[in-house]
Amino acid sequence: MNLTLSDEQRALQETAADFLAAHTNARKEVDVDAELWSRIVELGWAAVQVPEELDGLGLGPVELVLLMEEMGRRLARTPFLANVVLAQTALLQAGSAEAQQGALAALAYGERTATLILGPGLDAAPASLTVKARRDGEGWVLAGEAAQVLDDGLLTHAYVAARIEEAPGVALFELAVDAAGLSRTPLEVWDLTRPQACWRFDEVRLTADARVDDPTRVLAGLARTRVLAALQVAAEQVGGAAQCLQLAVDYTKERVQFGKPVATFQAVKHRVAEMMVRMETARSTVRGVAARVAQGAQGNGLDDAALAAEVAAARVQATEAYRYCAQEAIQLHGGVGFTWEYDPQMHFKRAQWASQWCGATSGWREALAAHLLDAA
């Protein structure tokens, strides 16, 4: 297996790094960054994983990983995660052919910006879905509450995984955010770069064609969506960890104590080196797993259990690396590391956010343990 990036992949990564360094500012006192988002769409990044036959760029998980790493590094405030990683992936994995035909290009080129609603923290297990669907003649009625939805105010649409009341099962619905009966209440989040809202569905009526899943694969498809999203969140975590390391290195080289830069102290060197070990290991795993997934997409087999195991490795490594690096960046900044004025606190909050969404590491570990230990 070859992990060498192609020239095109390298170019994409460099473009993303340069563009985001110049155009992001996670400290902006605004809730949304519509301009940044529209420029990202113009660059084609929202089209990377859409197949060519559906008018996308036909690239895959490796390209997404490279983009997500750079966005994580800059804490870019855009609907990329909601729109591309979640909504598009759900349509690709669980959507009907007709729904894909209409929607994917719209999501890729900015005609539509969507989020995905699963259980809390992107839990795809049917039992955790809190929105219920009931048949209403030819159409459907959605009711219930999704307590925490990724919603930065730029959305036009949402894909909602709901439990069907009459016949037990799960369906995926598409609706516009101005649907009657839908209310969205922004929440006071700690991580200001990842806005959330509480969505209430008060008898939201939908026509029959709002149901967009392929019933034969909706359950497995949503589960796979969560796993693939976890890999992309892991990439974002790696980018954040890399930035924490960079911040710590830069600051300790500048900061003088006892007549020397603190970067000359072995105790400090060992801490940043440890950060690098964890971050680079996580990066290797995330990129390796993405390459493995891309290979699997070409028909080289990666069943659901194997995919989940591979992603678990990326997920656990990245979560711990980001938490560790964010915590260490605060410590290595000394007193100012605890202030609002310096960036480590923003990464610390994002690291905490990321550690819970897509499932905590203990759950990923237990699933892995079952895979390793409980097989007949």
Binding site: Q266, A313, R365
Partner: protein
């Protein structure tokens, strides 16, 4: 050649040859288990050589097969998957030979490479000294040339793995009297079986003795047994260390997979697999192994666009040695109180060795602390003190 076919060829060969009298070697040998069947493992080296499996990456003009990296890697993986024993000839094959191919004279290449490739001559590494661990610049072993041009050596080397099983040792010694640091060192090839050399085993905490102290008291070697010029030994030594990381690291991981599987087998057999904390740690061990694997693959990727120090290569030793030490502790926690007794069960005994021997993993080839300094200074550009 197609990789899948090559893998099948290796697997078939291993299945046929690692059998009969060699069957007892499966999964034996390697760090922490070097005392296992040394004589038979040398015969195994010759078996491997006869099969054409030594020197896979060497150039053809030196008797190698010049195989691409992917196939060398495939060989290592299939070798270990089949239970191939720890290679008693690895210092010669993976350190001495590449150094001679890169920096040796044509005469040295003709003299030494065939012995290495055919499993006839074994090599030990004479770098460390009692007063100089990772600090090779503090070397005090002296060497000088007699009137007849022969080199003589005086001093002591330590932690020389398998010196008692080897014919030759390569030694970094100080050839310029009064020189300090990296200056004035020379790189000599020295026959071990001579009156001026004494080899004393060092008993390890495992009770075994795969390391030695080697004492040189006027030991001699021929005038042309120097690699590079007198005084340029540092350069040669560093080039050699550069060969230490490479495809063999991925073979090492297959040993690790085997060891983790032994832990899983024990946990399932004795019920530890039901303990939620043990389950989390076993999962974590698997996660860590994936990290090593993908990091190793990334290390071998072909990136001609970058001349920067490769971070994944810098962190590798630190990462695997810590992982392995953790695995040893996990294994003992899974084994439980039965771990207090030297086990007759091969699998449990192997895990006991891992537990004790892995204390050395974070010390040899550069301690954790030295590794972290290297990572910080070379990988992150942190200033020296």
């Amino acid at each position: 050649m197609n990789e899948q076919e090559f893998r099948q060829e290796v697997a078939d060969w291993m299945a046929t040859h690692l059998a009969g009298r060699f069957a007892c070697l499966k999964h034996r040998g390697g760090p922490g288990d070097e005392e296992a069947f040394p004589a038979l493992r040398k015969e195994w080296e010759q078996e491997l050589a006869a099969g054409g499996w030594v020197g896979l990456g060497w150039p053809r003009e030196h008797g190698g097969r010049d195989l691409p990296l992917a196939l060398q890697l495939a060989f290592h993986e299939e070798y270990v998957r089949a239970g191939g024993p720890g290679r008693i000839g690895h210092i010669g094959e993976t350190l001495m030979a590449p150094t001679l191919i890169a920096l040796g004279t044509p005469e040295q290449q003709r003299r030494f490479l065939p012995g290495i490739r055919e499993g006839r001559e074994y090599w030990a590494q004479g770098y460390s000294e009692p007063g100089a661990g990772s600090d090779l610049a503090a070397i005090t072993t002296r060497c000088w040339q007699d009137e007849d041009g022969r080199w003589r050596l005086q001093g002591q080397k330590v932690w020389t793995s398998l010196a008692h099983e080897s014919e030759w040792i390569f030694v970094v010694a100080r050839s310029t009297p009064g020189s300090v640091g990296r200056e004035g060192l020379s790189f000599l090839l020295v026959p071990l079986d001579q009156p001026g050399i004494e080899i004393h085993p060092i008993r390890q905490m495992t009770g075994e003795a795969e390391f030695n102290s080697v004492f040189f008291d006027g030991a001699a070697t021929e005038a042309d047994c120097i690699v590079g010029k007198p005084g340029e030994g540092w350069k040669v030594a560093m080039a050699l260390l550069g060969f230490e990381r490479g495809v063999s690291t991925l073979g090492q991981q297959m040993h690790f997979i085997h060891e983790l599987q032994l832990v899983i087998d024990v946990a399932r057999a004795n019920g530890a697999a039901r303990d939620p904390a043990i389950r989390q740690r076993i999962a974590d061990a698997w996660v860590g192994l994936q990290g090593l694997r993908y990091n190793g693959l990334r290390m071998l990727e072909e990136d001609t666009s970058s001349t920067k120090v490769r971070p994944e290569a810098l962190i590798y030793k630190y990462a695997w040695s810590n992982w392995h030490r953790e695995l040893g502790q996990l294994a003992m926690d899974v084994i439980g109180v039965a771990g207090d007794v030297r086990s007759d069960d091969d699998a449990v005994r192997r895990l006991q060795q891992v537990f004790f021997f892995s204390r050395a993993d974070t010390i040899y080839a550069g301690t954790n602390e030295i590794q972290l300094n290297i990572i910080a200074e070379r990988g992150l550009g942190m200033p020296r003190g």
